[in-house]
């Protein structure tokens, strides 16, 4: 096993949502180039000293398709590899003895529950619910979005515009008429404004998005917003 290495993993430990968190460093041995970030956490939990609580983190299919997992690896949501979920990120980029910092997905919309586990469902779901009914979920599925929340976490503005924009790109064709489209897109934009920050078109979101959603989706928010404004003006 000449390929195994030891990494110093700095993990965010936070016992509950109310507590202050802090980084704790652990040495993790037996890491191979093929180890994924989640497997690294598994190794860490196996090697924890007696009496220490295992590190809690969001886990899912480990196939990169469910969108449940997600941590920040050295400041990047999911990890250094582009457009790859945390469970599919291999640690081959890290050399023996290097330090890796793992923290929860950071955003005001994603409160930390414990250690690396965050509640991202609530805020993402409020936006989808604003599109009412299964149409919102259908739109996200059509866009290819797996609702992992990495775009929000990596954004220096805490903006969810890639998520919201992708929803609004795919929502209009699912609407039965124009009134429904206006009503629902308006609600989505309003809810998103209350939940996420403003978009500065930096494009960090498209670097981490596992679905590889394009930058063009961002602009759907403004398009639908202006469209709704025009209608309002005609009515008066």
């Amino acid at each position: 096993m000449h390929n195994t290495r030891t990494l110093t993993v700095e993990v965010w430990r936070q016992s509950s949502a109310e507590d202050d968190g802090r980084f704790v460093a652990y040495d993790v041995t037996g890491v191979t180039p093929a180890t994924t970030v989640l497997e690294l956490l598994d190794l860490l939990n196996e090697q924890l000293p007696d009496g220490e609580q295992p590190v809690k983190f969001d886990d899912g299919c480990r196939e990169g398709s469910c969108g449940k997992c997600g941590v920040m690896v050295d400041g990047v949501a999911h990890g250094p590899e582009f457009n790859t979920t945390t469970c599919q990120q291999h640690v081959r980029a890290f050399r023996n003895g290097q330090r890796v910092r793992l923290e929860p997905l950071r955003a005001e919309a994603f409160p930390v529950l414990q250690d690396l586990a965050v509640d991202k469902k609530k805020s993402l779901r409020t936006v989808v619910k604003a599109a009412r009914g299964p149409a919102g979920m259908k739109a996200l599925t059509n866009a290819g979005c797996i609702s992992c929340g990495a775009c929000v976490a990596v954004c220096p503005n805490g903006s969810g515009q890639l998520f919201v924009g992708s929803l609004l790109t795919e929502l209009p064709p699912l609407m039965k008429d124009d009134d429904e489209r206006r009503e629902r897109t308006e609600k989505v934009i309003e809810t998103a404004g209350e939940t996420f920050g403003p978009c500065s078109t930096l494009g960090d979101c498209t670097e981490v998005c596992p679905a590889g959603l394009p930058l063009e989706n961002l602009s759907a928010v403004a398009r639908e917003y202006l469209r709704n404004q025009n209608k309002t003006r005609h009515q008066h």
Binding site: T8, D74, A93, N157, P198, S200, L215, V221
Partner: protein
């Protein structure tokens, strides 16, 4: 197995042994108490002012409207920089042509309108656009920082595995380049429009060409001008990209890419053309 516990904020060095050398125990504890008081005061100020700012921005229009206002005022500014550059370049046609153009700007519209009427209308428009642009930027900044808030004492890490090219750095520098441009414009007006010292060199009303040459002869002013042009190129490039995004034009990939290219070309074009003037003055090509 546990190597070290690194708490969220780095611990303050023990003041009696490291930062202040050896000091009497009473003085030391007094200093520590003062440190604690100061830290608490700062925390209070920071948290209350953040709360106040967040409250203030809640009353502002929704984000898409602020973005549209920024796009409109920003487009106006970009258009102005192009026209202004074309005016500037007349410096190469000599003193007479340049002063004539300056006179034209003051008298345009007369004799139908009183002299300087259009000039003042334009100035008021630009002032209103500036107020809009700055207010919206401030509100959006507060909203962004609120949405991306992190636990106290936890800075954003420089992201691993991301190389940033100059244009990517420019993208992230809208606030700083904006501040540079604002300060430069204030200096520029005090220098060449008002002629107020110490911003201005020897200033004669109406002698635009001589005022410009005398001003840019000063190396510090020429350097400031060049720095401001770098900021202009960066700000315009990302600005136009954002105009496309915030008006819904960029839902089309081709449009988005064209706008990005147009922003870079316009930004660097205007900046280079303008920057040639202080260089020409410094090299005594324009004298």
């Amino acid at each position: 197995m546990t190597i070290s516990d690194s708490p969220g904020a780095p611990a303050r060095p023990d003041s009696s042994t490291t930062s202040r050398g050896t000091v009497p125990a009473t003085l030391d504890s007094a200093l520590r108490a003062a440190d604690r008081l100061r830290a608490r005061a700062w925390e209070t100020v920071a948290s209350t002012s953040v709360d106040a700012m967040v409250k203030a921005t809640e009353k502002m229009p929704p984000t898409p409207q602020l973005k549209l206002a920024m796009a409109a005022s920003g487009t106006l500014f970009s258009g102005f920089t192009v026209v202004h550059m074309l005016g500037n370049l007349q410096v190469y046609q000599g003193r007479e042509a340049f002063d004539g153009y300056a006179r034209f700007l003051r008298t345009v519209g007369s004799p139908v309108l009183p002299e300087k009427t259009l000039l003042w209308a334009f100035r008021v428009t630009m002032l209103a656009a500036t107020a809009t642009h700055v207010t919206c930027a401030a509100a959006l900044t507060v909203r962004a920082q609120q949405a991306a808030s992190r636990p106290r004492g936890q800075k954003r890490l420089r992201p691993r595995g991301r190389r940033r090219r100059p244009w990517d750095v420019a993208k992230r520098s809208m606030r700083s380049t904006g501040v540079v441009l604002g300060l430069f414009t204030a200096h520029h007006i005090a220098d060449l429009t008002v002629g107020a010292r110490p911003a201005a060199a020897e200033h004669v009303q109406g002698a635009a060409y001589d005022n410009l040459v005398r001003s840019l002869r000063r190396p510090a002013v020429a350097a400031l001008y060049l720095a401001a042009m770098t900021a202009l190129a960066a700000h315009t490039a990302q600005g136009l990209t954002q105009v496309g995004n915030d008006t819904g034009l960029s839902t089309d990939r081709a449009v988005r890419e064209k706008l990005e290219l147009a922003g870079r070309l316009a930004g660097t074009g205007v900046a280079l053309a303008n920057a040639s003037i202080p260089l020409a003055v410094q090299l005594r090509i324009v004298r």
